[in-house]
């Protein structure tokens, strides 16, 4: 599928960048004329994925997070969030609702929310090799 526009940003895994990441994606997606609900869904999913990188991929250090967005034909937004952190040993287990290796300040609902707010999500990871989360959202008016 060919893209109509794209952007790539890179930032350190600092929690202050969570708000920046979702605002950047929302700003980029604005040209697709999304509804407020669609924009809220996209911001939420991006916030979850970036938070996972900060909390789980780089638990003891600051690493790099790469965020790439593409606007595909047919009003579809493709978002890839990549880290080079510790990786996920068991992706299926990590995607289960309420499962978390974080503390009491984590709910374990991140992947569940990404799944329910986006049209599709693919997670590729292995221990020691980082994680790539690729999500797509088809917007209203998509054929």
């Amino acid at each position: 599928m060919k893209f109509e526009n794209y952007m790539t940003i890179e930032f350190p895994s600092k929690s202050s960048n969570e708000a920046f990441a979702r605002a950047a994606v929302a700003g980029f997606a604005a040209q697709m004329d999304p509804t407020l609900e669609e924009l809220g869904d996209i911001r939420t999913a991006v916030s979850e994925a970036v938070t996972n990188c900060i909390v789980h991929a780089y638990p003891d250090c600051i690493g790099t997070i790469t965020l790439r967005c593409k606007i595909l034909k047919n009003k579809t937004l493709d978002i890839t969030i990549k880290d080079k952190g510790v990786g996920i040993e068991d992706v299926d287990l990590a995607r289960r609702p309420m499962y978390t290796t974080g503390g009491t300040d984590r709910s374990g609902m991140g992947f569940t929310i990404m799944e329910s707010f986006m049209t599709s999500i693919v997670v590729k990871s292995s221990k020691g090799n980082g994680t790539v989360v690729r999500m797509r959202r088809k917007l209203q008016g998509c054929k």
């Binding site: 929690s15 202050s16 969570e18 708000a19 979702r22 407020l36 609900e37 809220g40 869904d41 911001r43 939420t44 916030s47 979850e48 938070t51 900060i54 909390v55 609702p97 009491t104 300040d105 984590r106 709910s107 374990g108 609902m109 991140g110 569940t112 929310i113 329910s116 707010f117």
Partner: protein
């Protein structure tokens, strides 16, 4: 994190503000837990009317508040949720375990 609270007739109302994500969740959790422990209210109302965005970190804030208030036999109410936070709560099933009220809770 911006938070205001007031206690009236044993009911503690905590108004949260702005965007709730992992960056500020821990501070909210500790502040709410501290207020519940200090005032031991029969009801704790979390007023979400000024919350413009939250991700699953907001769920953790509510779960921890629920844990604190349940420990002292009290009740937790979420009030005046905007559409985006409401959708996050519903998609996680939280609306089934916490009382959600449309308007700001009145005694």
């Amino acid at each position: 994190m911006q938070l205001t609270s007031f206690l009236q007739d044993g009911k503690l109302t905590v108004a949260l503000t702005g965007e709730i994500d992992h960056h500020c969740a821990k501070a909210y959790i500790q502040a709410i837990e501290g207020k519940i422990e200090a005032y031991t209210p029969h009801t704790c109302v979390l007023d979400f009317s000024e919350v413009t965005f939250m991700d699953s970190s907001g769920i953790a804030v509510v779960i921890n508040a629920l844990r604190s208030i349940t420990r002292i036999g009290g009740r937790l109410i979420l009030s005046a949720l905007n559409e985006q936070p409401k959708k996050v709560f519903k998609s996680s099933g939280m609306d089934k375990i916490v009382d959600i009220q449309e308007e700001i809770y009145e005694v």
